[in-house]
């Protein structure tokens, strides 16, 4: 495969990016060998593997991996490939393997750190040179694994930025989600929503910080909620003796999508190095959810009044972690944009329980997930339609450029910065880093 010319794909500052970034399968294949190897990719949460021998399966880029709790209680991440002939050791999304993995094909077995345990009828390998083979070493155990307060990330490449250097200040969004639990602990609840999109994974990433689309693309969903709610509430207040109708939880979750440009502009966007950033610096669509009885008291008991208020007041909108994860601390959801092919992406949407907080939070989080992120979600339908029309529309030869110039300034990036809320700066930040990881170094 010929090396992709990155400079021809991303203009300076990523004010425009070439359509091949989304359409080209060779660009996609290079991403798998560079972007997804050189960066810290999220593989799971340690609450998914509470007991020794528990595992979950996922992918880093397109490569299957297993996250497993080893006999010494550490989290290990192994490539999900038998060293013999390549069979995946486990295929379930999650489960328990006990004390070892046993390959279903020829019964080679491995400890939960991947080291070899046994090969049946082993004398057939005597004097064959097997001792020097890669197969002999067992399952490949990834060295660069970081369990950050329960969130497990892996860097496939031996070389690269340390975890702390790579994420720098952006970890504050994960921190805020965890700190919202009075016990400082999160637990994954249930299976993820899985949603198949016929578009490039980066279109979904771009959309997470696209604040000029909700009031337009979601007029059909959020706008209809608004219309029906206002009609119902209006009717109600016309009766002089009746109390104002309490806003149902779902209305509270969906109405802010219809906020004005001015509101989104004011809320701000913050960027960090290496392609991370978030919308909702001073306000977000998650800022005005009703209080939940008993929660504030338990937070004050856990953190003291000042700190408790600080945690609760931080209601960031979407935090994008380069390359393919998004976290919403204020509503405890996590989305992964899993690349399958240049024009195929599976979105997984997970929810967390705030351990020690009232169930109302989990109810709200679960509701948000199904209303916004499900393949049955009308909000999801609005978005998918836009991505897939873009995937098709970009086949027009006349203009190969995707424009990302809104609020563009040549010197806008570097360290931690705050920008106007309707800026496309986080998209640019993503592609500036993308270009760097796509072209940096020669190791693969």
């Amino acid at each position: 495969m010929s090396e992709v010319d990155i400079k021809a794909l991303v203009k300076p500052g990523a004010s425009e990016v070439h359509r091949d970034v989304f359409l080209s399968q060779s660009v996609f294949e290079q991403e798998m060998k560079t972007v997804f190897r050189r960066t810290w990719v999220y593989v799971g949460h340690d609450s998914q593997v509470p007991k020794k021998g528990d595992f979950t399966t996922t992918t880093i880029g397109t490569q299957p991996v297993i996250m497993v709790r080893h006999s010494d209680n550490t989290i290990q991440v192994l490539l999900n490939r038998c060293p013999h002939k390549g069979v995946q050791l486990v295929n379930d999304p999650s489960g328990s393997t006990g004390r070892f993995f046993r390959c279903p094909y020829h019964a080679w077995s491995f400890k939960t750190d991947g080291s070899p345990l046994g090969i049946p009828f082993k004398k057939g390998y005597e004097d064959t040179g097997f001792d020097k083979s890669c197969a002999k070493k067992g399952m490949c155990n990834l060295k660069n694994v970081k369990n950050y307060r329960g969130f497990v990330f892996v860097r496939l490449s031996e070389e690269g930025e340390s975890f702390e250097e790579f994420f720098s200040g952006s970890l504050s969004s994960i921190d805020n989600m965890i700190d919202r639990s009075p016990e400082g602990r999160l637990e994954i609840v249930g299976a993820p929503l899985r949603y198949l999109h016929h578009c490039n994974w980066k279109m979904l990433v771009d959309n997470q910080t696209d604040t000029c689309h909700p009031m337009i693309a979601h007029e059909s969903s959020a706008g209809t909620v608004k219309k029906i709610w206002e009609a119902a509430a209006g009717e109600d207040t016309s009766k002089p003796m009746s109390k104002p109708m309490p806003k149902p939880m779902v209305v509270e979750l969906v109405l802010p999508f219809m906020s004005s440009y001015e509101t989104f502009e004011k809320m701000g966007i913050r960027t960090w190095d290496h392609g991370h950033g978030h919308t909702g610096v001073s306000w977000s669509i998650h800022s005005e959810y009703s209080d939940v009885e008993g929660y504030f008291i338990s937070m004050v008991e856990a953190y003291g009044g000042e700190r408790a208020e600080e945690i609760i007041a931080e209601t960031r909108h979407n935090t994008c972690y380069f390359p393919n994860m998004m976290v919403k601390g204020a509503i405890q959801t996590l989305r992964l944009f899993k690349p399958i092919a240049a024009d195929k992406t599976i979105v997984e949407s997970w929810i967390f329980k705030l351990v020690g907080a009232p169930d109302t939070f989990l109810k709200r989080t679960a509701m948000y997930n199904r209303i916004i992120n499900a393949p049955t979600s009308i909000v999801g339908h609005d978005d998918l339609e836009m991505y897939e029309r873009a995937q098709e529309g970009l086949k027009v030869d006349a203009n190969p450029w995707v424009n990302m110039q809104r609020h563009y300034r040549a010197d806008e990036l570097g360290g931690e910065r705050v920008h106007p809320g309707t800026s496309e700066v986080q998209m640019r930040n993503h592609y500036v880093s993308w270009a760097k990881y796509m072209s940096a170094g020669d190791e693969v």
Partner: protein
């Protein structure tokens, strides 16, 4: 008013027929004011609120969906989707209460097809209805749609199974 087994079966066939004929407003009328449409995310899921579902919709949300389908700016419905149900004969799970005017539980296997543009997909499973007899006939108190593959990576499911 007494409801016969045949009334119940006819009601469920007629419900699917309204959907297939895109008479969504008439379909909505079949739901009681406290009616719910539930599609769990996990096979065998019993928890309604404290875990993710594909759908858990009260009448307000169902009304939003039906309204949205008609909207000028509902771009994911330009062009519109179509759907089709093949039902197995509904089973009444508590036939002993038919004469007592209490809520009736049924189970109905389905093959559902939805299509739009060049895409067509199938969903297979069974629906569990709870039906309430009223002076005006039956109302849906709950329709639970159990897919055999709720956890799969689905494409847009835009109409009603």
């Amino acid at each position: 008013m007494s409801i016969s087994e045949q009334d119940v079966i006819d009601f469920i066939y007629a419900e699917a027929n309204l959907l297939d004929e895109h008479k969504f407003e008439d379909w909505l009328e079949l739901f009681a004011d406290d009616g719910v449409y539930w599609m769990p995310l996990e096979f065998g899921q019993t928890e309604e609120h404290l875990t993710t579902s594909l759908m858990y919709e009260d009448k307000l949300l169902l009304t939003v969906r039906v309204e949205r389908l008609k909207g000028e700016r509902t771009f994911s419905q330009r062009p519109k989707s179509r759907c089709h149900h093949i039902l197995q004969r509904p089973q009444i799970l508590n036939p002993q209460i038919l004469k007592k005017g209490k809520e009736i539980k049924t189970k109905t296997a389905f093959h559902y097809t939805e299509s739009r543009l060049d895409e067509q997909f199938f969903l297979v499973g069974w629906a569990e209805h709870i039906l309430r007899p009223t002076g005006d006939g039956l109302q849906i108190v709950r329709k639970q749609v159990n897919l055999i593959n709720p956890e799969s990576a689905h494409r847009n499911i835009q109409l009603f199974v």
